[in-house]
Symmetry: C2
Subunit: 232 residues, 2 copies
């Protein structure tokens, strides 16, 4: 495992943060990660810098690096950004929709409905679905920006889907959106999209009330080592 490059290290760390395998508040030492991944500090450090840029990691010089707590402000930001982009994109839907994209979206929805679907698999399909909707209106490239900005939102959503809302509900909302888009009913599409995104946001608020220790405190003051998550 010694020949790993930075992209792999970055992808691995990002996945571990987003899937909560690395819990919010947990310390991440460059040396430890390097040893664990079988590489030197350099690619690990460069990956941490990128993750810090996304807000998923907090670096305190000469002290340590820590997985960011889920920041309600950033969650709200990502939610606003996502809603703005996805709703505005609906305005730019062409009159005739790309049949290939529509077919892919249908297949995606079918996969979402599979009975014993895994949580992470559902998440991947969810990402692909929203990305596909953007592509349908010719703004697929904007997804990269949205995706990068919604790391905090994703972590909060995972908590919500873990403990609360079943994927079935989300899948039904997805189908409602696609149906409205396909029939060209822009008003209904916007309403369905808004309902869906707001439901996601409500899930986040609910899980925040249940597990406040995973979220950042009100003030943005420096949370140092004593702030690591201790479960009991």
């Amino acid at each position: 495992m010694a020949g790993t490059n930075r992209q792999t290290v970055y992808a691995t760390l990002r996945r571990k943060v987003l899937t909560m395998e690395l819990q919010p508040g947990a310390p991440v030492s460059e040396n430890e990660l390097a040893a664990a991944l079988g590489v030197s500090r350099t690619p690990v450090r460069e990956s941490l810098i990128l993750l810090a840029e996304e807000g998923l990691i907090q670096v305190f010089p000469k002290v340590g690096s820590f997985v960011s707590r889920v920041d309600p402000v950033r969650v709200a930001d990502a939610q606003f950004l996502r809603e703005a982009v996805e709703l505005t994109a609906l305005d730019d839907l062409p009159t005739v929709l790309d049949p290939a994209l529509l077919a892919a979206l249908d297949a995606n929805l079918s996969a979402q409905d599979r009975p014993g679907i895994d949580l992470e698999e559902f998440f991947a399909l969810d990402e692909e679905f929203h990305h596909g909707l953007l592509q349908l209106s010719g703004h697929g490239a904007a997804w990269a920006t949205v995706s990068a900005a919604k790391g905090h939102l994703d972590r909060a959503r995972r908590l919500g889907l873990h403990e609360a809302s079943p994927p079935t509900l989300n899948a039904a909302q997805h189908r409602a959106i696609l149906d409205a888009v396909r029939t060209g009913d822009l008003t209904a599409a916007r309403a369905a999209m808004r309902t869906h995104l707001r439901a996601v946001f409500d899930d986040v608020e609910r899980i925040r009330a249940q597990s406040p220790q995973l979220f950042a405190s009100n003030d943005g003051s420096t949370p140092v080592r004593r702030n690591v998550v201790v479960w009991d």
Copy 2:
């Protein structure tokens, strides 16, 4: 100048790219930059990685790093993103506006009207104005994402203001937006904002016709060393 840290290096390089001091297509060697800035490769390299993430730098492993050409696709993306965010934010304007923010925006507009204003100074004021508008509706934090995504747009705009549209026109449009916002005329505010953002986009298209060599070609194929900008 040896005690420079990475943030300074990053800020310096980003400024040089955005102001066209480092022209699109120009090669940027880690060693050269390190020597020029009086630091080692490490902070330079880390800065280049961040700039690559923003799309301002292209890194070709074992070959070289180059300032990205202005990519029309990314320009359009940034334009769409910006329009979506700024227009959607107008929907969330509170009934009573923060007086301090309004005063700051007024002062900003006055500064924009100063006769012999410098181009870069106008750009800073422009950024501050749009950021302030977002703050007015409580979504100031979203500006960071927009700002990071619109590097290509900014470079194109700079070209446009250099050679075409005078800052006076932009300042007038800014004032129209703020007036509509202040009087609570949401429809007029959206219209003024849309007019302004579309005018910016038209400037970009015009300058693209004039100086196509600064823009990326249609295909996204690898532009290597022979593709550096040679002026004549």
